[in-house]
Symmetry: C2
Subunit: 451 residues, 2 copies
């Protein structure tokens, strides 16, 4: 960035524009194996007009622009390999409307999911999507985030009802509507959700809220094999039980979580579950769920005590730290494949065999109701991706595709999964590129991501 | 179409290519007020290669191509105002896979929803989207159809998991995947669903299935006002009751349905409802639903008898015929606005006042759980749209937008709603057009529709 550009930005954005190296360095992140590249500058936007101004400026100057929220993405989505301006939306964190009747909230993109749920206290409603981190909702929409309770309440793909999207020329597109559904033209909203800032930048979102359940039951189920655990999951889903979370931990993951969170679980594959019921339907639902678990030799204990539930999900969310603590001196590479439920057990089994054969350390946790599971491949600190690891990652990706699945269930493409895009999409990738070129002809909206 | 083109098509498709006027005339349909325009020829495709062949041929010759299924769309989606070839997919009606574990079916585009549900007997699963007509599922995907039970099971926007889409150059894009979710690039599937054949032609679809409920309760609820009926709907949705259908009929609609289907209902606004429960949760759910209805002075009787349920929903599906019978010698113009639930009662009330003021005859039925309602504006046979009717339709559309809603909830744009696209979408329409141009640069895929 030359001096005149910097001066113009200083004039326009004053002390909301930053070029200090220590400041800029906070705005880059990338998975292991990808170079950290800070942006040339950071603009902290405070309102929609600020976004329009910086987008227009970047367009005129031909500068890359990279939107950022809570900076919790994990595939390098906000890394700046071509430099440019990071547009930090985290201070656009106003909740502008909560409609109880419509069960929606309209928010600025920097509002985090915890902040929104805090604001919803007492309304009987909650925002459901929970990727673990306290991500910004704008960022969650941009990466099509999901998480533990998507099995019941859907991903960001189904929880954004409308948005305002700042396009590369600074114009604003109103996409979606406050109505529940529409058949009035192309679904631009679904196109924007998951586009990782490559087509436009959200300046406002209207998200769906869900009724808080009267009773929340949670518990753990131990099984003798992953296969039996997955069978119980399948039967549970087929019987339309109101299961809100159903998470698998394999034996390695259980060991690490036992050590870190003092869970005292038997060293077997486990499901962590949550059911959302009402007091009248509770006994019937418990009986039916227990039946599914017992059918496959599992044991289950459900509880409606908030403290027990809290401890369980804190442990689940802490799994990442538990794995790092267990494999001391290591850092983890997360994987994220998602396959049809009918293939999940075979896919996990083949993957566990592969882990054993290659001698890798890679505990497994999964949103198994969605067929999505993560490994954390533990590397010694400073260790590069070895050919063994690269081979394993390639086989994992190819396995996902061979089962009709996808290489990313929820982490997105960013920089980390670019090389898999042609493999997964074939001819469909040309369509994505054609759309990208049509909406951002000079490729300055989060360039070098996704494609 | 010149002679040489016709000869080439005859050579390529033999007796699956038709130019007889009486045959072609079956392939045009448009709402009142739009000229019926048959295509120049019809090709009946039998497999994906046929679609590829005719699409490639049309591309080379620069001929418009219009896909068709069961021909039940109602906004002129398969009318051929620029001539060209209608691609009839109705004979591509094979069900290629049913996966119980994944709860999906993979089908050719001409499979109808009744055919699929027939094939699913005994599996414990069903295909949920029900627009009334026995539409083809390819057509339902193309128009983003929904219907009575979308309030619980979603619209076509959320019930297609993957598809094969033949693009204008004859290439095939595999979009979506068999996995429940993906964060691997742009959501081309959602873009294709609802694109009305303007971006590509479905040659295969994988759709979601849902577990059949153990018990289906159905019944009617009478209220003193539409406002109270809508309040009961809102409370029902907020309490997360497993309501699968919740349909409003205003007084005019009740009168017509009473006369046609011998329902014997009191002449008040009614909700027709259906709850999907299990035997253990049934008593609790009935009690809670009754509480919501009684709170607003309504009366309700629920039954689990299949015959009573059947009679009720046949009457609901027959409403179109009931209205035509009641207003003898008239033909109806259907409307389709959808507004946020919080505005529904005000919107219906303003619309009923407008109907009364203009002296129009227009019974109202609605998928009120979605905020979507239809009027059937009754015109004397042969009568053109008068300025009074045009004025009413304009006010209705503007009312939908003023409440933050959409001018079409489920019928789509076709030719009938083109003029409202700029009004509803503003700058976002440019994005749609840019995408259309990028994927179909010569505008030969269902031209003169949507834009």
């Amino acid at each position: 960035m030359n001096i005149s550009v910097i001066e113009k930005l200083q004039e326009k954005f004053g002390d909301h524009f930053h070029t200090e190296p220590t400041f800029r360095e906070q705005y880059c992140q990338a998975p292991t194996g990808i170079t950290l590249s800070p942006p040339d500058g950071v603009v902290i936007v405070r309102n929609e007009q600020d976004i329009v101004d910086i987008v227009t400026f970047c367009s005129v100057e031909g500068l890359p622009m990279i939107p950022s929220g809570a900076r919790t993405s994990i595939e390098g989505q906000i890394n700046a390999p071509q430099g440019g301006i990071c547009i930090d939306c985290s201070e656009m964190n106003a909740i502008t409307d909560i409609s109880i009747e419509d069960m929606t909230a309209t928010i600025q993109p920097g509002v985090t999911r915890e902040q929104l749920n805090e604001a919803l206290r007492g309304t009987g409603l909650f925002f459901s999507v929970d990727p673990g981190a306290n991500a910004s909702i704008g960022g969650m929409a941009a990466t099509r985030a999901s998480g533990t309770n998507s099995v019941r309440y859907g991903t960001m793909a189904t929880n954004v009802r409308a948005a305002r999207l700042v396009m590369v020329d600074g114009s604003i597109a109103n996409i979606g509507s406050r109505a529940v559904k529409s058949a009035m033209g192309l679904d631009l909203l679904s196109l924007a959700v998951g586009s990782e800032g490559t087509l436009g930048i959200f300046s406002e979102l209207t998200v769906k809220l869900h009724p808080l359940p009267e009773v929340i039951l949670s518990g753990v189920c131990a099984f003798d094999s992953v296969e039996n655990a997955v069978r119980a999951v399948t039967d549970t889903l087929k019987s339309a039980l109101p299961i809100a979370r159903i998470e698998l931990l394999n034996v390695s993951a259980v060991r690490a979580c036992n050590a870190y969170s003092k869970l005292g679980l038997s060293e077997k594959p486990h499901l962590f579950v949550e059911l959302h019921v009402n007091s009248l339907s509770m006994p019937g639902n418990i009986a039916l769920f227990e039946e599914h678990v017992h059918r496959y030799g599992g044991e289950v204990q459900l509880s409606s005590h908030p403290e027990e539930r809290e401890a369980l999900w804190v442990a689940r969310h802490d799994a990442w730290w538990a794995f790092h603590a267990f494999y001391e001196g290591c850092q983890g590479i997360p994987t994220d494949i998602c396959v049809p439920l009918s293939c999940l057990s075979a896919c996990i089994s083949a993957t566990e065999t592969d882990i054993a054969n290659t001698g890798l350390k890679a505990p497994l946790i999964g949103h198994v109701g969605d067929g999505n599971f993560h490994l954390l491949l533990m590397l010694r600190e400073g260790e590069e991706e070895t050919p063994v690891i690269q081979g394993f990652l390639s086989r994992l990706a190819e396995r996902a595709l061979s089962y009709g699945g996808t290489i990313s269930g929820e982490h997105g493409v960013g920089q980390g999964k670019i090389k898999w895009m042609p493999v997964q999409h074939g001819a469909a990738l040309h369509l994505m590129k054609a759309i990208k070129s049509a909406l951002d002809p000079h490729n300055i909206m989060n360039p070098a991501k996704m494609y």
